[in-house]
Point group: C2
Chain length 340, copies 2
DNA sequence: TTGAAAGCGCTAACAG
DNA sequence: CTGTTAGCGCTTTCAA
């Protein structure tokens, strides 16, 4: 009735338990015929090593912890969904499973880490949202907890942990150049408040592209909350005061807000005023006439993170350089026609 | 350097290892003063029981497995994101963590289950998408694997496992009644193909509400793929041939398609023609002028699933009745004004 | 109420 | 190349 153990397989194959263990973990140590015999016994019984026993012995769980935060209702971004899937897939290929956890206490992200760490439930963590400055990375480093971070060490100075990140500035630069090539010269930026490092980074890409092209930026930048309404009102003000012909936004949420305002003014998104968002959310994909948007290469990020994780767990001492990935641009209707 | 063990705590507290174990698992067995002494030692050392050792001994992992499938790009629904979060939160409160896995082989959902099951990596599974008829439930039951399903046993006949589901028909009925109350009498249905049990169920809610109100339904129903474009073309045909004043859709994706067609015809969603979607996706929440949509009570579902899970693991023999939850309606702009 | 002994299933180390 | 021994950290007897 209960699951077969090493001993069962050993008996059936007529070898010792250790030999079976070797057959599973170091097949090359066995003579071909022994291996075959053991293998057959394994198949016959449907044997799979017991995780708990193996974990206890090897002091590893082959689990990686990922903290998730609540879905932001009313915003367009669902980056997490895609990222989680990619991460699960890639870590599965490397023999790891992903264990999810949330904050036990409302506002303290660290309790969750602490619990899993102290109970040796996971081998490592994948840390996200490092830009929020919650000190997750610093805290983990202090405890010598193995982790890789999706997000560069913004605050953290002399961080010595592997990280993978996506170059937001490159994304907005791509978006802005795209609009410049379409013939726009008054391109507005709708971004987040100044305290958002991510927001400032994305803004810098717009700025760079504009400067490179010798285009004006004064009065063309706005910094607001990440909400549809904020996008609306920012666009209203911008249209009235600066007369832009295109908008680059820090998020799809803001871009949707801009589109609302255009509709309200009887302007056609794309034909009359171009709009580009950020995140390639499902909103961007489905809204009419399709919102051009910067897409983060999350699958790639997952690949790199798992690679870093494997390296970290294999040789904890040596930490490779951070990996910076470049987003792509998904061109859709709101890019509008060529204006030249 | 390494984590403290029972023995460390026992030594510090001057008791036996067993007493420490009891202090953790059966505190009421100890005399108050002993307990206090042990507790202090635990705190002092920051002791947490080692998961692997405990798992090995108790033959439990306190992990529940959840299979996730790729995000559907180009559709509006992101039900999974919200559901996963709720599930992680609720199971955390019950002392369980959620372990994610994907299909190793492209099209075989069972290999993932099999592997986790045979290696005793999880205590139970939460199965979703039972309507797809992949036979997950039947397969798991056959192996006597503990699981609860989010989704009633559609095909499965004499299923004897706990389940929680959301009454889709009640959702569309709610939506349809809402429109009837607004004064609509020609309300069209845009749903999925006939082979979708979920689609047929949702359709039946529309049908029921229409019949109850004595309204005609002939020529007012359409069955298409779940894609924005399909929603567009279905709406085009419907407007031309049946002249409905409102649409109830099986998904937000289809509803968005309908809205595209309205825009194309110069019709105002809400004011001219009402539209209701299903899933309360982020698209529904952000699109202009807000898409009225049926919202699944996923948080509640998670609560019930965890409750069922706890019951199942406590007393595997007795299985309670399935739990059917009722969705709510999120009313937004596309409901339009009162027409009476 | 507390302690001693045994063993869950596995693998690392070493002996043969 | 194969077998023996020991023990990972915990909990479940059972005895004191």
């Amino acid at each position: 009735m209960s699951a077969p153990t090493l001993a069962d397989v050993a008996e059936l194959a007529g070898v010792s338990r250790q030999t079976v263990s070797n057959a599973v973990n170091n097949p090359d140590l066995l003579r071909a015929d022994t291996l075959a015999r053991v293998q057959q016994a394994i198949d016959e019984l449907g044997y799979k090593p017991n995780r708990a026993a193996r974990n206890l012995r090897t002091r590893a769980s082959h689990l990686i912890g990922l903290r998730i935060t609540p879905v932001q209702e009313g915003t367009a971004s669902v980056v997490m969904d895609r990222f989680v899937h990619s991460l699960v897939e890639k870590s599965g290929e490397a023999g790891y499973h992903v264990l999810l956890f949330t904050d036990a206490l409302e506002d303290d992200p660290l309790t969750g880490y602490d619990e899993l760490l102290r109970s040796t439930a996971v081998d490592a963590f994948v840390v996200t949202d490092t830009y929020l400055g919650e000190g997750q990375a610093a805290w983990l480093r202090e405890r010598r907890a193995p982790f890789v971070s999706f997000g560069r060490p913004w605050d953290d100075d002399n961080a010595r942990h592997p990280w993978v990140d996506i170059d937001g500035a490159a994304g907005t630069e791509l978006a802005t150049r795209h609009l410049i090539e379409k013939g726009h010269d008054r391109i507005a930026w709708i971004g987040w408040k100044k305290d958002s490092v991510l927001g400032e980074e994305r803004r810098s890409g717009w700025l760079r592209a504009m400067h490179e092209a010798g285009l004006p930026t004064t009065g063309l930048a706005s910094r607001v909350e990440d909400a549809v309404n904020s996008g609306c009102s920012a666009a209203r003000v911008m249209l009235a005061e600066a007369g832009p012909t295109a908008f680059v936004c820090a998020s799809d949420t803001l871009a949707i807000g801009v589109m609302h305002t255009l509709a309200e003014r009887g302007l056609q998104a794309g034909d009359d005023v171009a709009v580009v968002g950020f995140d390639d959310s499902q909103v961007a994909q489905t809204v009419w006439p399709g919102l051009t948007s910067v897409r983060q290469p999350l699958e790639e990020a997952a690949v790199e993170l798992v690679k870093a994780l494997e390296g970290l767990l294999a040789t904890p001492s040596q930490v490779g350089p951070g990996v910076m990935l470049t987003p792509t641009l998904e061109v859709r209707g709101t890019s509008g026609p060529d204006r030249r």
